[in-house]
Each structure stands twice: as C-alpha cells, then as structure tokens.
C-alpha cells in the first residue's frame, strides 16, 4: 500500500469510472462525495507508520511513490492539506446536484483534486507547475460543458495558465542555479521578474486578470467557483513552496514590498471594477481577485517576521474564501433557471421572490468585503493591523478596495429588492436549496463570531503550516 495510491491513483480511477456513469447524476455526486469524505477521513485518522494493521494482517505502507525517477511523497506533514482538500471537495460535490453543475462536474472535479494532490506530493516541488497545468486542462470540460459554444473566457484562461507554467519552471531553474553559484545579481533580478510574470499569469494579477470576469460570466457559476477556489489556492501554495525552498528570496528586503504591491494592485483594481460592475457573476470574479490580493498581502507580511501566524491566516482565508464562494455560486445556480441572466437589469425585484438567495448573495459579498461578524473579518482585521504598522498607505488602499466591493453589494441589494410588479415577499426557493444555503450562511456567521474555531483548528494542524518560519 502506498499513500500515492490512496490519495492520487484511487481518486483518479474513481473519477474515470464516474465519467462512464455520468448519466446517473445523483449517484455520481453521492459516490464523489462519499469517496472524497472517505479520503479526507483517512487522511485525518490513518496512522502514520510503516505498517497498517487491519485485523490480523499487517500491510506495509509507504508515503513515497517513485514515478519515472522522481518521488511523490505524501508524508505526515501533508496529511492536514489532504484533509482540507478532500473535505472541501466532499462539500462541493455534495451540493452539485442542487447547483445543476453539469454531468461532468464531479468526475472531472475529482480528477482535478487528485492532480492537485500530486502537485503537493511531487519532488522537486517545481514540477508541481506541470501538474497544475494538467489540472487546468482537466478543468476545461467543467467550464465549457457539451452543447455550448466555446467562450473567449475559457480560451483566455487556458492560454494564460498554459503560458504561465513555463515561466514558473524557468524561474525555478534559474533561482536554483543561483543558489548553487551565487554571484551574478542580474540573474536574480531576471529570475524574479520571470517568476512574477508567471505567477501574475496564473493568479490573474493585473493586467492578466481579464479571464476571471469573462469566465465567471460565460460559465456556470458553481463549477466556475470550484475552479476559482482550487486553482489559485494551489498556485499560491506553489508560491509558498518557492519561499520555503529559497529562504534567501524570502528574506530579501524587496520581496515583502513586491508581494504587498501586487496585493494592493489586485485589491484596488478589483474593488474599482466590482463597484461599477453590472453583472453579478462577473462581480464574483472581481471578489475572488480581491481575496487573492489579500492573500498576497498576508504572504508579504509573513515574509517580514511573524511567518507562522500569518501563514495560519493564509490557510484560514482559503477556508473562508471557499465558504463564501460556495454560498455565492450556489445561490446564483439556484437563480439561473429563473432569470434571463445575471445582469443587474435582469435581477430587478428578484430578491422579493427568492429572499434566501438574495440574503446568501449579499452575505457572501459582505463576507468577501470583510464586514464585521462574518467569516473573513477577523483575518482582514489582522492584515490591516499588520499593514498599518509597516505600510499604512497599503492599509488605506486595501480598505478602499474593500469599499468597492461593498458598493457592489449595496447596488446588488438595491436592485434585487426593487419592487417592479408589486410582488409580495415570498420564499420560492426549493427546500433543499434553502437548507444548503442556510447551512452556508450559518457557517459564515459562525466563523465570524468565533474565529478561534478555525484558527485553533489550523494551529492544531502544524504540518499545514509547513516549514515557513520567520
């Protein structure tokens, strides 16, 4: 038995089987959910030892799998990451039938999860970029389902992600070379610039951000949000791998400034565009950009000193992003069959007919904007406090960017409750959708009211926090 068989090969095989069973949508979703939950449970409870004892049998268990001369290692330190990834997958797959996310969502989604697990496992970590690219390729059928014309957003997403991968590989090679024979500082500058372009392409940093709103508008909200959650998360983890691997890069004086600068740029541009955006799905894309910007800020602050605590915040922000995006996307999916589109003009008065959907969308936007009592607020507060000590101007700009998203929320709220046909307030959502949305809203409130729940959980999973020490 091998860890890679369990968390990479097995879900890949299941994904393949589910692909053939795609006709049975509910069955596929149930199997995908159960398998993901099972793998999350195994990651949490399977003892980390060389032999597994099942009744009378002792089965040898290795955490390393050799693939074409390189190692895929899922050691004890990776277990918490596996728990989080597969747990999130189970939650998303569980709600897939309600979200009408398409027959291909669960099989290809599970395939993506397995490939991103391989990206975590591969050594050297640099090769993770190629696994992430393969995951991008696997995500295409989710984003552009059969029977629909291919959108420009999908093509742009594919192009940017594919072009980004070589930049990461080349910069990693250059930085490794510099480590062996330091001397030529020009190489570091060029390598850093190449790396910045690579991550800029992969993480939709301005001016490479255009695919995010385009994709959000063209594709179904739920699968798109799933991809929005997974890929930037995996790419940011790859970026953290760079900082872990090249400690001198982490300690370089300009690294924090660069990360904070990129973060501010993303937050401000996303905030401005969100404030004037007229499409609710595109708004979700800008909200994601804003959240990625805050992730850059957190990592930038982490490089300054208190690496451990800020890294906890980074992982906590991934969880809250997942929950907010999930609620937002599920709400939009519930609305999809009742409206002509997600342009605000199509949503006039819709909130009166679907108040739970309205509440979910608004609370999700509020959460991503960092409003108090909601899940993102404690993290945002710490980031703003940290920034105000080292770069107050960045703190002000980050708050202004968040205000942009807040304006978007108020515009949406105003449009959706506008009374056009003297409609009475009536909850028309299906019961199951309402239950799922209420659970999501409860989660957002719970994490906002008791942020220690999440932080404590992450603190108790020290391996998630890696070796990134101040």
């Amino acid at each position: 038995m091998n860890a890679a068989y369990l968390w990479i090969l097995f879900p890949l095989i299941i994904a393949l089987i589910l692909l053939f069973l795609q006709r049975y949508k509910v069955l596929v979703a149930v199997v995908g959910t159960i398998i993901s939950a099972l793998l999350a449970g195994l990651a949490a409870w399977l003892p980390v030892q060389e032999q597994l004892f099942i009744w009378r049998w002792a089965i040898p268990f290795s955490d390393t799998f050799i693939l074409l001369g390189r190692r895929l290692t899922l050691s004890a330190s990776d277990r918490p990451s596996l728990v989080i990834i597969y747990f999130i997958a189970a939650l998303w797959f569980g709600a897939a039938p309600i979200a009408k996310s398409g027959r291909l969502f669960v099989p290809f989604g599970l395939g993506m999860i397995a490939l991103l697990t391989a990206a975590i496992a591969v050594e050297p970590f640099l090769f993770a970029a190629v696994f992430i690219e393969i995951a991008v390729l696997v995500s295409i059928p989710i984003l552009s389902p059969p029977g629909r014309p291919t959108g420009r957003g999908v093509l742009r997403y594919l192009s940017f992600q594919t072009i980004g991968m070589p930049f990461i590989l080349i910069s990693g090679f250059m930085l490794a070379g510099f480590e062996v024979g330091p001397g030529d500082q020009d190489i570091v500058v060029i390598a850093t610039a190449i790396m910045a372009i690579g991550f800029g392409l992969l993480l939709a940093v301005f001016p490479f951000h255009t695919w995010i709103p385009m994709l959000a508008q063209e594709s179904r909200p739920y699968p798109t949000a799933f991809v929005f959650l997974l890929l930037p998360g995996a790419v940011t983890l790859l970026g953290l791998g760079f900082l872990d691997r090249f400690v001198w890069l982490q300690n370089a004086p300009n690294t924090s400034d660069l990360l904070q600068g990129v973060g501010v740029l993303m937050i401000v541009t996303a905030g401005i565009w969100a404030s004037v955006e007229r499409n609710l799905a595109r708004m979700m894309g800008f909200a994601l950009m804003l959240d990625i910007g805050f992730s850059f800020m957190i990592i930038g602050l982490a490089t300054l000193g208190e690496g451990g605590s800020f890294r906890e915040l980074f992982f906590a922000s991934l969880v809250t992003r997942g929950l907010s995006l999930g609620v937002w996307a599920l709400a939009l999916s519930g609305l999809r069959s009742h409206v002509n589109g997600f342009d605000l003009k199509d949503l006039k008065g819709v909130g009166r007919k679907y108040p739970i959907i309205l509440t979910s969308v608004i609370v999700a936007i509020f959460c991503l904007a960092g409003i108090p009592l909601l899940a993102s607020f404690p993290m945002r507060l710490v980031v703003i406090e940290g920034l105000s000590l080292v770069a107050p101007q960045n703190a002000v700009l980050a708050i202004l960017g968040s205000f942009g998203l807040l304006i978007a929320a108020f515009r949406t709220l105003s449009t959706m409750v506008t009374d056009t046909e003297n409609d009475p307030w009536l909850a028309n959502e299906s019961r199951i959708l309402a239950i799922f949305l209420m659970i999501g809203l409860f989660g957002l409130l719970l994490l906002g009211l008791f942020p220690n729940l999440l932080i404590q959980l992450l603190t108790d999973l020290p391996a998630v926090l890696g070796q990134f020490t101040p």
């Binding site: 027959r103 389902p145 192009s159 594919t162």
Partner: protein
C-alpha cells in the same frame, strides 16, 4: 554530434513552419505544418538529450496533430471553414513573423548568456516558436488556432527547457500536457455540437 550539424537547418524549418502556420487557412495544411515543426523540435531537443527520449517530443507532437485532425473531421465544415487571408493580412503576418525572427537573433545571445547549457540554435528556435506562437494567439479567438498557438509556444519552451532539465518525469509530464492540449482542443471543437448536459 550528428544533431548539432542539423540544428541550424532545424531552426529554419521551425521558422518556416511557424510562419506558414500564421498564414495558412486550411486546417489540413496547419496540421501538416505543426507536424513538420515537431520534427524540427525533435532535432533540437536531440542536441541535449539521448535520441530515444528526444523522440518523445516528435511522437507526442504528431499524436497531438492527429487528435486535432480527427476532431476537425468531425466538426461541421461550414462552421469552421476559413477563407483565405487577404493579401494585406498575409503581408502583415509575414512581416510580423520576420520581426519575430529578427528578435530571436538579437535575444538568442542573451538566452545563451543566461543559460550556458542552451546552444545558439536552440535559443533561436525556442524564441522563434515562443514569439510566433504568442503572435498566433494574439491574432485569433478560434479554439483550433488557439491550440496551435499554445502548442507552438510550448514547443519553443520545451526546446529551451530540454537543454537545462533532463528529468524523465518532466519529459513525460510535458508530453502529457502536449497531448492534453490537443485533447482539450478536440473537445472544444466538438463540444458545441454535442448534446447539452444539465
């Protein structure tokens, strides 16, 4: 090394095929050109790698071409038939390709300085493919053409990366990406004609 001898002709082969890819309007011609292009990639990768591993590049490239070609035969031709480019467009594209070639000559030396493992021919070919691939991507929004552009960019990167990294795993993964791109291209070409799923 025999492949060193053929590396400069391979650069010309790559430049010509990548330029023709820019101006060809018939998908059959385009697939023929990209298949020939992968022969050039093979010769340049073989400068750094053993022939039995370098051949992976040409096989994956040809398979990618075959996958795209099969997909195109299943697409309603009225939908994807492209009309020949007008003369001014052809001239513009040829000029742009020539400029990319000149850029490759000037930037090639810098690449060799940065990566001493990369030979001059590899640097020229890599930059030509990346530049012309990006140009191709910038001039189209059609899935078939986007995939050709991405394959060209990726081919250029593979030439450069082969000189600095010889891992078999990365060879296999990049071949998977090449085939995956072709498969995604085939899917995007045929998906609009498939039955809608809900």
């Amino acid at each position: 090394m025999i492949f060193d001898t053929y590396s400069l002709p391979a650069v010309f082969l790559i430049f010509i095929t990548a330029s023709f890819l820019l101006i060809s309007w018939d998908w059959r011609l385009s697939i023929t050109f990209i298949s020939i292009q992968y022969v050039g990639v093979f010769f340049l990768v073989a400068v750094s790698w053993p022939i039995e591993i370098a051949v992976v590049k040409v096989i994956s490239g040809w398979m990618a071409g075959a996958v795209l070609g099969l997909a195109m035969t299943n697409v309603p031709q009225d939908e994807w038939k492209e009309s020949p480019l007008i003369a001014s467009n052809v001239i513009f594209r040829i000029l742009a390709a020539s400029m990319a070639g000149l850029f490759a000559i000037t930037a090639g030396a810098s690449i060799v300085r940065l990566f001493p493992e990369v030979s001059t021919s590899q640097a020229y070919a890599g930059i030509i493919m990346i530049a012309l691939g990006l140009l191709h991507l910038g001039l189209t929004t059609k899935p078939f053409r986007v995939i050709l552009g991405l394959l060209t960019v990726l081919g250029g990167f593979e030439i450069l990366y082969a000189a600095v990294e010889s891992s078999i795993l990365i060879t296999g993964l990049l071949a998977t990406v090449t085939l995956g791109l072709a498969a995604v291209g085939a899917y995007l070409l045929t998906a609009p004609t498939l039955e809608e799923t809900s």
